[in-house]
């Protein structure tokens, strides 16, 4: 068992309790997708691709009153220590659902009846917080696809490690720590659209943890915004 924190509050990867891992986002990395993004978030390496709004297959899934959103979170066989079976696990199906519900509030699906927007996320290398990183990439890919959005969605986890509330839980901290709370917000509207918790928190820790995660989301938002600005304004494209 690794020591997760020094007495000086330095974490096993050298970070302070309130420090994010390195994040970089590239926009428009795929040619076939209508929108795409690649994120490196700590050791997470994740691709997101978006298609749509487009016709729904199979047709009976189409809704004449509104567009629908589909989301698939998938891990590559080589993304984790032990080779993963390529068939989707129950965990991946659940995460696909919570990601969809985290993105949906940011979209205006009523404007695109009878269509579908497909969000495909591929985790090429997984680290702690892969669902948050996936969401960060997916939101940017939706924007890159030119889909009208009320707001971006920015995600980051907080947690409890060695009895302290920390920002952005990594893999070791997730597995041996005391709690992990992934959170996503629409940063301008201020709503929390994804939230989960595994682990044990007192009511006070719960509040601190939530505020810490939201702080992280706001920092992530800046990285997302910069990535989009870089593609659409500074490089002069589009």
């Amino acid at each position: 068992m690794t020591q997760l924190m020094t007495e000086d509050g330095i974490r096993c990867d050298g970070r302070r309790v309130d420090q994010l891992r390195n994040i970089s986002i590239k926009v428009g990395v795929l040619k076939n997708a209508d929108g795409s993004a690649y994120i490196e978030f700590g050791k997470n390496k994740i691709l997101a691709g978006v298609f749509g709004p487009r016709d729904v297959h199979p047709k009976h899934m189409a809704n004449q009153d509104t567009g629908i959103l589909r989301c698939r979170y998938h891990m590559s066989p080589f993304s984790v220590t032990e080779r993963k079976n390529p068939a989707p696990s129950r965990r991946e199906i659940e995460i696909s659902k919570v990601l969809k519900e985290a993105l949906q509030p940011a979209l205006i699906l009523k404007d695109f009846p009878r269509t579908v927007i497909d969000v495909f996320v591929e985790v090429l290398q997984a680290d702690g917080g892969s669902r948050c990183a996936a969401l960060d990439a997916a939101a940017v890919a939706l924007a890159d696809a030119g889909i009208p959005m009320r707001d971006l969605v920015s995600a980051c986890a907080a947690g409890k490690v060695a009895d302290r509330i920390v920002l952005d839980v990594n893999n070791e901290e997730d597995q041996e720590g005391q709690a992990d709370m992934p959170v996503a917000i629409m940063p301008n509207i201020g709503k929390v659209t994804l939230m989960q918790l595994d682990g044990i928190l007192t009511p006070d820790e719960y509040k601190t943890c939530l505020q810490t995660a939201i702080g992280g989301c706001r920092t992530v938002y800046e990285v997302q915004r910069r990535a989009l600005v870089e593609k659409y304004f500074e490089s002069g494209e589009q």
Binding site: P105, V192, I200
Partner: protein, 267 residues
């Protein structure tokens, strides 16, 4: 089309009532539906419970049997929770592989029991790394009328509390049942799941089927006997404000206390 109009009318009605602090079925906003728990309903199982929660009804059975531990978890017994909405429970449920809704249901119930560390899994090891006791907690929804999360969770907890763990001896490296010797399950804490819905600006506890049909977002929070928050799942197609999330955690603790008293009577 017509159905969309009816839905809108029902939503208007529900919102109207909420402004007056009322709900369609007359409950207060923080009031759960009546809960009855009956245990021992499946004598062939090692534990079982039938829960009626309003018009929602769930039967949970617990099976205890020797198994191999998960790799890298050789010092722990196995715990598996499943949930199923039987097709007789709901006109819109079809037989077949589980939908993403049902997978989420099962995983949230599982995490509520796992993350609170309700059962001391270390006490279920027969030979480290080789042979452990597995506890399978399978919930079947037989009438689906809203808030399946809490109904399945309560039935699962009650079924575990009512269960007896058979004794196994190791013979030739294989576990052999010792007839007639059983023990109580090693329970450390009592998890209580409380599900809430947001409709407009209102937070309501234990949404009914009608309320679920027009809720904006959903949250399930599980607390333990020590008053901690141990598992949480946000669902639904919209979000919560931070204030609402804090309020929900307080509701989960206060409402949870009443449910936990019911569980204590089963011990």
């Amino acid at each position: 089309m017509e159905s969309a109009i009816l839905d809108q009318l029902k939503l208007d009605k529900i919102l109207d009532l909420l402004k007056q602090g009322k709900r369609l079925d007359g409950r207060a906003l923080d009031e759960q539906r009546p809960l009855t728990i009956e245990t021992g309903v499946i004598p062939k199982a090692n534990g079982s419970a039938r829960v009626k929660f309003g018009d929602t009804e769930v039967i949970t059975g617990v099976k205890v049997q020797p198994d191999k531990p998960f790799p890298d978890l050789g010092d722990k017994g196995i715990l598996i929770c499943t949930a199923e909405i039987l097709p007789l429970a709901d006109p819109y449920v079809e037989p077949g592989p589980p939908t993403e809704d049902v997978i989420e249901l099962a995983r949230v119930v599982d995490r509520g029991i796992r993350e609170t560390e309700m059962i001391d899994l270390h006490q279920l090891v027969l030979i480290e790394d080789k042979s452990v006791v597995g506890i399978f907690i399978d919930s079947s929804v037989i009438d689906s009328a809203g808030n399946l999360f809490d109904a399945c969770s309560y039935a699962s907890v009650a079924a575990v509390l009512s269960s007896t763990i058979p004794k196994y001896e190791i013979k030739d490296e294989a576990p052999v049942l010792v007839e007639g010797v059983t023990s109580k399950p090693p329970v450390k804490t009592l998890p209580v799941s409380v599900t809430m819905a947001r409709i407009g600006d209102y937070i309501i506890v234990d949404p009914s089927k009608e309320e679920e049909a027009c809720m904006d977002a959903r949250i399930t929070i599980t607390t333990n006997s020590a008053g901690n928050i141990c598992a949480l799942q946000k669902g639904g197609d919209d979000g919560f404000s931070v204030e609402q999330l804090v309020k929900c955690s307080e509701l989960a603790l206060s409402v949870g206390t009443k449910i936990r008293k019911k569980f204590e009577q089963l011990m």
